[in-house]
Amino acid sequence: MARVASAIAVGGILLFGSSGCRKEAGPPRWDVDLLAPLVNTSLTLNDVIADSLLVTGTDGALTLLYRTELFGVRLDTLLQVPDTGITYNYVLPIPGPLFFAAGALLPTDEDATSLDLEDVQLRTLAIRSGTLQVDLTNMIASGITGTFALPGGTFNGQPVAVQGVVPAGSPLNPSFTPLTRDLAGHWFDLRGPDLDQVNALSSQITIQLDPNGAGANVTNLDSVKAVATYTDIVPQFAEGYFGNRTEQVGPENTAVDLFDRITDGLLDIDHVEARLRITNGVGADLRIRIHELVSENTRTGTSVPLVHPIVGSPINLTRALDLGGSFQSTAWSTTLDPGNSTIAAFVENLPDRLRYAVDLELNPLGDISNGHDFLYHESAVSAQLELEMPLRLIATDLTVESIATPDLPGSEEAHGLTDGTLSLIATNGFPFRARLLLDILDADDQVVGSIPVVGEVASGEVDPDGLVRDPVRSVCTASLTPQQVDLLYAEPRLRIRAVFNTADQAQHLPLMAHYRLDLQVVAGVNYVVNGDE
């Protein structure tokens, strides 16, 4: 608005206000009455609902197609490899001293440590990421070479070993060398040395005195210690028997953004259909039980549970198919409609989140794969809810809200804008009429003032088929008093709410792709030139 004023008054400021001395009264000020369009915009359904969610039929009628993941169970729920440590400690079994020549080998230690995987019995594990750290401590008066081999491990088909040199040390002043190895891409056979175990992580530690040294006298106070730690292991692939166990998922919430802009009101839809599709990417049979699926509107505090035979009943999914390096998920789906469920009320609740509680039972029939359950890093059990809703509806006081921070000229202390009238000129092609509510909010979203709006946006002219034949033009006005203007400067947040009602409250009216609402905001204000200074 300031620029409109300036554009009109620029000549005057230059021409009439440029000369002479000015006293303490400041620059000359005078009030002008300005009338100018401010904002020009239009509203289509695409402004309310993303294009990707709308499907236009051959007759131009719109259908809403909304997909959301209801829940997903991923690798970290199905399989977690804990950090695992292995300690090797060599101490002379007699008091000594006993001389060990240069290059002498201390007794080799070979061990198979069991990974703590609870009910999971793994035979093979491929690692996507993780680290092996070996800390070597030497108290012998000779340098040593430590070799930490992983007999069950391969990397690109080659055996895996970690080797490092530790300088000479003493019991009072041991020397220390840390060794690390990135385990990404490593494969481990977890069946142990005799291939008859599960979860077995084999290791072999060899210590050799420095072949170029002078040897050393070793007593039972001298020792060599190696601590190997596997950390942050993320599997890329695992095979074995995953056990017969039940994972509980939820109660948890998943956000629904479909009705984000709607803050209040009732929506009566003509028809809705929903498809629930569950996919199993895990190489193990599953039995899923949905305990609850609830539509929650946190703005109104209303909850509508889904009632359908699937809720509370077991859903069996066969295992995924291993394609050797990848997998093919299996799927299960069912359709919910107003005839077999409460899906209509579920949607009409305008949920902003869905609450669910689900049990997943692995291998309900036991180890029928003979230890060949598998999963990949990408494996997941996922439930997708797909909502298909032809946009034929009855809206009752359906409220859409937006909060704007107007870029007003001047400041709270000095502003040229004193009072005026905002006119909203609407050309409405929707079968809705709309009331506008303007409120001034403080920083805590509390209403500190309201600007009354006179008039309402009239509905488009609806023919007997429920289609809008002609857009209708209407004008709403909002008068801004000086007090309201001051308030707007003090709390510059304006909440604009539009309350929609369909023209015919007894009939579901279709929404067509070409419907639009053209809006223009015109300001007629009193503005004090130089009042912003």
Binding site: M1, R3, V4, A7, I8, A9, V10, G11, G12, L14, L15, F16, G17, S18, S19, G20, C21, R22, K23, E24, A25, G26, P28, R29, W30, D31, V32, D33, L34, L35, A36, P37, L38, V39, N40, T41, S42, L43, D47, R261, V400, S402, A404, T405, P406, D407, L408, P409, S423, I425, V475, L494, I496, L519, Q520, V521, V522, A523, G524, Y527
Partner: protein
């Protein structure tokens, strides 16, 4: 208001057209070395009332009735302008390069000159806004404004016998603003949904970062001169003298930070287009968008501009009886300034002279004034001119003009 008016006039005002005249009473020898100090301000308007201009000058809120009274006085073409000039001029010496009677002239001045012509719709839009034009077209065409502030430092030659002189000045440009609306109309729809703007014009300005007295935004040069001819006379008859003169015939090159915008466009404005109706934040004023929409975003480049040349011709007739008559025609290169004519009658009383004048044109209409030139001591002369007595009669008069000057004769 009524107290402020004469006070301001007496304190600051100078006549528009006095600067090429002799300060000394008629008949004093022009051959004398001297130093002249001049300063003052003059304002004239053909329609606007002084009360409005004074309110604008002094700041504070300009009441609606004040604006309405001036609006009621507007004509189809309205003019106003101001000239503020302060200067020191010295004339001395006996000869230059062996030529007797040639003196050296040295001069330093400060100039602040502005002129405006405008149509009534410009005034109405400026002081009352466009709401009153709902459903109508405001015609702004032909309106123009220019203001130049600059300082000069120069030297020249003064011919003692004839009073002719020529001077070359270096000009320091302080600030410059010029607006010219060649063809401009503004239509406001009755319901405010549309504004149609036709805009063909120019806006020019010196660097806006600094415009105070110390600002050095341009550099130029100017020549000023006055050539006097005495017509042959018989003994005992009246003496006729004709003067042709020009002041500040020159130009300033304003530096490369000078701004220029020359829109030649016609468009309809129906508000800033907002793509997302749910995101109006920042869209209420849309300052940057408006600048682009109106196509008035200026660009920076150096620019040459002529100084507001002041040219005049004067015919003086001096009778042996002590009477004198001056007829002066002048023109200034400023918007709103029309040819100016002034007729002054002088009567000499010893070393003093008083006169009355009638004048028309310039930035104002018909007006009358009084003039006085006084020899206070042997070495000090003074001048007081009040060429617009009507302007001093009250806030609802038009124009303010007075001049004070001192001449020191060693």
């Amino acid at each position: 208001m009524s107290e402020r008016l004469p006070a301001l006039a007496l304190a600051l005002a100078l006549p528009l057209l006095s600067f090429a005249q002799d300060l000394l009473p008629t008949g004093d020898a022009a051959q004398r070395d001297r130093v002249e100090v001049r300063g003052g301000f003059a304002y004239d308007a053909n329609t606007l009332l002084n009360e409005l201009v004074l309110d604008l000058t002094q700041g504070g809120f300009v009441e609606r009735d004040v604006r309405e009274r001036s609006q009621a006085a507007l004509r189809s073409n309205n003019r106003l302008g101001q000239v503020l000039q302060l200067g020191v001029h010295a004339v001395f010496g006996d000869s230059i390069l062996g030529r007797a009677g040639l003196k050296v002239m040295i001069s330093a001045t400060h100039q602040d000159q502005a002129g405006l012509r405008f149509r009534p719709d410009v005034y109405a839009l400026t002081f009352f806004g466009n709401a009153g034009f709902a459903g109508q077209r405001a015609d702004l065409s032909g309106s123009a404004f220019e203001q130049q502030r600059y300082q000069t430092l120069g030297a020249g030659l003064y011919h003692a016998r004839s009073g002719s002189w020529v001077r070359l000045d270096v000009v320091k440009g302080q600030s410059w603003t010029a607006v010219h609306l060649e063809d401009a109309t503004l239509f406001t729809a009755a319901d405010g949904t549309r504004i149609d703007l036709r805009l063909h014009g120019t806006y020019r300005s010196s660097d806006t970062a600094r415009s105070d007295l110390g600002a050095f935004n341009g550099l130029g040069a100017a020549i000023s001169f006055a050539q006097r001819f005495s017509l042959p006379t018989r003994n005992g008859s009246a003496a006729h003298r004709i003067t042709l003169g020009a002041q500040d015939l020159g130009a300033v090159r304003w530096n490369d930070r000078a701004l220029r915008s020359g829109p030649d466009t016609a468009f309809t404005y129906d508000g800033i287009t907002v793509d997302d109706v749910f995101d109006l934040t920042g869209a209420i004023t849309g300052e940057e968008q408006l600048l682009d929409t109106f196509g008035v975003r200026p660009s920076a480049a150096a620019a040459w501009r002529l100084l507001p040349l002041h040219a005049w011709a004067e015919h003086s007739v001096t009778w042996p009886t002590g009477w004198r008559m001056d007829l002066r025609i002048a023109q200034r290169a400023l918007p709103g300034f029309i040819p100016f004519a002034q007729l002054t009658g002088w009567r000499r009383f010893g070393a003093q002279a008083v006169g009355i004048s009638a004048q028309y044109g310039g930035f104002g209409g018909l007006r009358a004034g009084v003039h006085g030139r006084f020899r206070i001591t042997r070495w000090l002369g003074a001048e007081l001119q009040l060429p617009n007595l009507y302007g001093l009669t009250g806030p609802r008069a038009r124009g303010l003009a007075a001049q004070v000057g001192l001449v020191f004769i060693p």
